[in-house]
């Protein structure tokens, strides 16, 4: 298989990227695992119960789980791993647990809401009901690690991981190849493959050429090569496509003039033809966005929530807001991070906005600089793609638009709407169902109407998979070439 970058770490507490996650998920297990249909199922936990007030989750653990070092897993390991990860790079995975915030900020010695009832039982008390909690339990940051190995290895645990996963690390030559071998003692029985080799290939074309040369069994196909692959009779049959839970869009910082005026933001939304964006930036191989939420996300509204392409209306709104181009007016700036698709999008955007009288200045930055600029509110108009961490509308709408998340926590638009906050708070605490979905739909509608975010297209994963590769799940949380699905199920029919 191929990875598009060398994983920065194999420590679940420190991993924040899809590349690391693709490997971490093979080395470690979580209490709960999502199947291809995104339904939570048992993993390290053989079962669980939820209290009537939906605040207490009691997990009954399997007693036959061994770490790669041979030791049996106990509930205390889960508590240790979660507390360790809560002070890692993704503390938000645990912040719904009672007392977690105090622990994360160093004001408590442990997470009060985590209780080891006995070696096989973990009780988790939430600060408030939170419908997607099981998704967080299935997230790779919540993977279980053995305390003694973490303490023995220190920082080296990131490069010498010890988990309970179906595979263990065999060798890793940085920026070249990472090889996993089957862990014979896995609690579900040994994986079907003896080993999995991840080739680290940063260039799209190099990955494609390796596949053509027969050196890869699986690889991703970026949008820029989708037409090439479709036209190639030898490759066409191996191409698989599926929806990834992600949306590419444009964001405004609503505290930055002239984007403080909703009419200016709406004008830009009406000036952009999302179909043309798909045709140009995605080479026609994509799906124009119908809203912020990808259609494949459970609970996403059936009706489209997007301001239509209407340049005439855009001109009128710009005139009303006083943002028409002309002498003496400042040029408006759009910030984006480096990358060919981002560059193409920026140029198309510049052309489309010129049609309605906006003179857009393009500013390209590298990723680190771009993040700082966006977090600190030093840009008014910028690009943002979002891929779901877990399949729930909360992960899009609450994270990206709730006023308590202003800044680096997700709401970089600095959008503060009491009514949207209320709808989101209510929905987040509700049990899944039509009423919850309706709240999210209302919130999404309002956010789109306020033109805080302009959805452009939903992300699509494309991969070349040889026909003898069996049972490679295409999780909507994956983004090819990185697969987050469990490779223990995969086998080769050759």
């Amino acid at each position: 298989m191929a990875l598009s970058a060398d994983p920065p770490t194999l420590d679940p507490a420190l991993a924040t990227d899809l590349t690391s996650a693709a490997v971490v998920r093979q080395l470690f297990d979580t209490l709960v695992e999502l199947d291809e249909g995104l339904t939570p199922g048992p993993a390290l936990a053989r079962s669980w119960t939820v209290s009537p007030d939906r605040r207490v989750y009691t997990f009954l653990l399997r007693r036959d789980v061994r770490f790669h070092n041979g030791r049996l897993l106990e509930a205390a390991d889960v508590k240790y791993a979660w507390e360790r990860a809560a002070r890692g790079k993704r503390p938000w995975v645990f912040e719904k647990i009672a007392g977690a915030r105090e622990f994360i900020e160093g004001r408590a010695r442990e997470i009060a809401g985590l209780r080891v009832a006995d070696p096989a039982t973990l009780e988790v008390r939430l600060a408030a009901p939170f419908a997607p909690f099981l998704y967080l339990v299935a997230y790779d940051a919540a993977a279980v690690v053995p305390r003694e190995e973490v303490e023995r290895l220190g920082a080296d645990f990131a490069t010498n991981p010890v988990g309970t996963g179906a595979f263990r690390l065999a060798r890793w030559r940085r920026d070249d190849e990472l090889v996993l071998e089957r862990f014979p003692g896995h609690f579900r029985g040994p994986a079907l493959l003896d080993a999995v080799a991840f080739r680290i290939l940063p260039e799209d074309l190099t990955r494609l050429n390796e596949y053509r040369a027969g050196q890869l069994d699986v690889t991703g196909v970026p949008a820029s090569y989708c037409r090439v692959v479709e036209a190639d009779a030898r490759l066409r049959g191996d191409l698989v496509t599926w929806a990834t839970l992600g949306t590419q869009g444009l964001r405004f910082n609503v505290e930055s003039a002239p984007w403080t005026d909703v009419r200016a933001r709406q004008a830009v939304a009406h000036a952009i033809d999302a179909s043309l964006v798909v045709k140009t930036v995605q080479y026609g191989c994509g799906v124009p966005a119908r809203g912020i939420l990808p259609p494949a996300i459970p609970g996403a509204p059936a009706a489209a929530a997007r301001l239509p392409y209407d340049p005439e209306r855009a001109r009128r709104l710009l005139a009303e807001a006083g943002v028409t181009g002309g002498p003496g007016r400042p040029r408006l700036t759009y910030h984006y991070n480096t990358g060919t698709p981002n560059q193409r999008l920026a140029e198309l955007l510049q052309a489309q906005l010129r049609d309605v009288g906006i003179d857009l200045q393009l500013r390209r930055l590298d990723w680190a600089a771009y993040l700082t600029l966006v977090d600190e509110g030093r840009t008014g108009f910028y690009r943002q793609a979002w891929i779901a961490d877990y399949p729930d509308p909360e992960n899009f709408l609450t994270v990206l638009f709730h006023s308590r998340n202003v800044g680096a926590a997700g709401n970089t638009s600095r959008y503060r709407s009491p009514v949207v906050d209320r709808w989101l708070d209510e929905a987040d605490a509700m049990a899944p169902g039509p009423e919850r979905n309706r709240r999210y739909a209302e919130a999404e509608r309002r956010i789109v109407d306020d033109a805080v975010y302009i959805p452009l297209y939903h992300l699509t994963s494309r991969a070349l998979v040889r026909e003898d590769v069996e049972q490679l799940e295409r999780s909507p949380l994956s983004s090819a070439p990185e697969f987050l699905s469990p490779l223990r199920k995969v086998w080769l029919a050759r």
């Binding site: 924040t16 938000w92 290939l201 050429n209 040369a213 050196q215 990723w367 700082t372 680096a408």
Partner: protein, 315 residues
């Protein structure tokens, strides 16, 4: 004579210290002034402010930039380049892991440039202003001006995908077949420079009277060119080859990316992108060291071969 050469050598080596110090100061200043926070960049799009602050403290990023620089230099004197901000491994270990791949590639590319560039230059000089000369020099210019990225992709497509003779990419555990395409790609740029310099130097020497004497003595043209002309023309060619080693390192990040070659070039690209300043500083320091050592080597060759430069340096 040996003592004189030793004094000159000591002077040159001593001059390297301020150069390397200047390089580190420049890189540090650039990284300190650049927008972007390594702690924040390591956390993905969604970051918890408390976690960012904690990681900033762990990585000592909460200290003022000049203080961090002074501490870094203090450690450098003891041979310690610090730890990677990405995975907390010692920078010396990270660099030592990648250095062999880059050295292999740079040496192979240099050999390509010598093996192809020198004969091309000699033939072009010998057939001056002929169709062959023009064709070879046009090829040299093409080699210099072809983007490494494009050339790498084309070579890979033809020799790996279509013909299936060579691997597409990767280090292949050190298998020499994996080295051929990256070395040809990286060497192409330098081959053109070596060919042009060889031709120019030979033509320069060809005007010298001692060659007329050699011909008058009845020596064959081959002997005249190879034994008399080429030896005298070799000094500028050696200069270009020595200095070219630095240029090859500059070209390495692109070649290493195209061919997924796990060397210092790719390490530099990733560390700059991730704001892993200690690793970026370490790699730049190695590149600077190679560059100045290449220059020093050229100086020494000059001193050893040409007495005039030795006397000038001694003054």
């Amino acid at each position: 004579m040996t003592g004189e050469l030793g004094r000159i050598l000591a002077g040159r080596v001593g001059a390297l210290v301020p150069v390397l110090f200047g390089v580190t100061l420049l890189v540090w200043a650039m990284s300190a002034l650049a927008l972007g926070d390594p702690a924040r960049a390591s956390m993905g799009q969604r970051a918890d402010p408390a976690a960012v602050e904690r990681i900033r403290r762990e990585l000592e990023l909460d200290r003022p930039a000049p203080v961090r620089y002074v501490r870094w230099v203090g450690r450098l004197v003891r041979g310690d380049l610090g730890r990677s901000l990405r995975d907390r491994r010692p920078v010396t270990a990270v660099i030592a892991e990648r250095l062999p791949a880059t050295v292999r590639l740079a040496v192979a590319a240099t050999l390509v440039s010598i093996a192809v560039g020198v004969p091309v230059g000699v033939v072009a000089a010998a057939r001056r202003r002929s169709l062959l000369d023009h064709a070879l020099m046009a090829g040299a210019v093409l080699g210099i001006s072809t983007p490494v990225f494009w050339l790498g992709m084309m070579l890979s497509l033809v020799f790996a995908v279509w013909l299936g003779w060579l691997p597409v990419s990767g280090y292949g555990g050190g298998d020499w077949l994996h080295l051929i395409l990256p070395a040809l790609t990286l060497g192409a740029l330098h081959t053109g420079v070596v060919a042009r310099m060889t031709r120019a130097s030979l033509l320069e020497v060809a005007r010298q009277e001692f060659l007329q004497t050699a011909r008058a003595k009845g020596l064959s043209e081959f002997t005249v060119v190879m034994k008399h002309a080429f030896r005298n023309a070799a000094i500028p060619v050696v200069t270009v080859i020595g200095l070219g080693l630095g240029n090859l390192l500059v070209g390495a990040p692109l070649t290493e990316t195209v061919f997924a070659w796990p060397g210092l070039g790719r390490l530099l690209v990733v560390s700059v992108d991730q704001r892993d300043v200690p690793v970026a500083m370490g790699v730049v320091l190695v590149f600077a060291l190679v560059y100045v050592l290449g220059s020093l080597l050229v100086d020494l060759v000059y001193l050893a071969v040409d007495p005039r430069t030795r006397h000038a340096a001694a003054r």
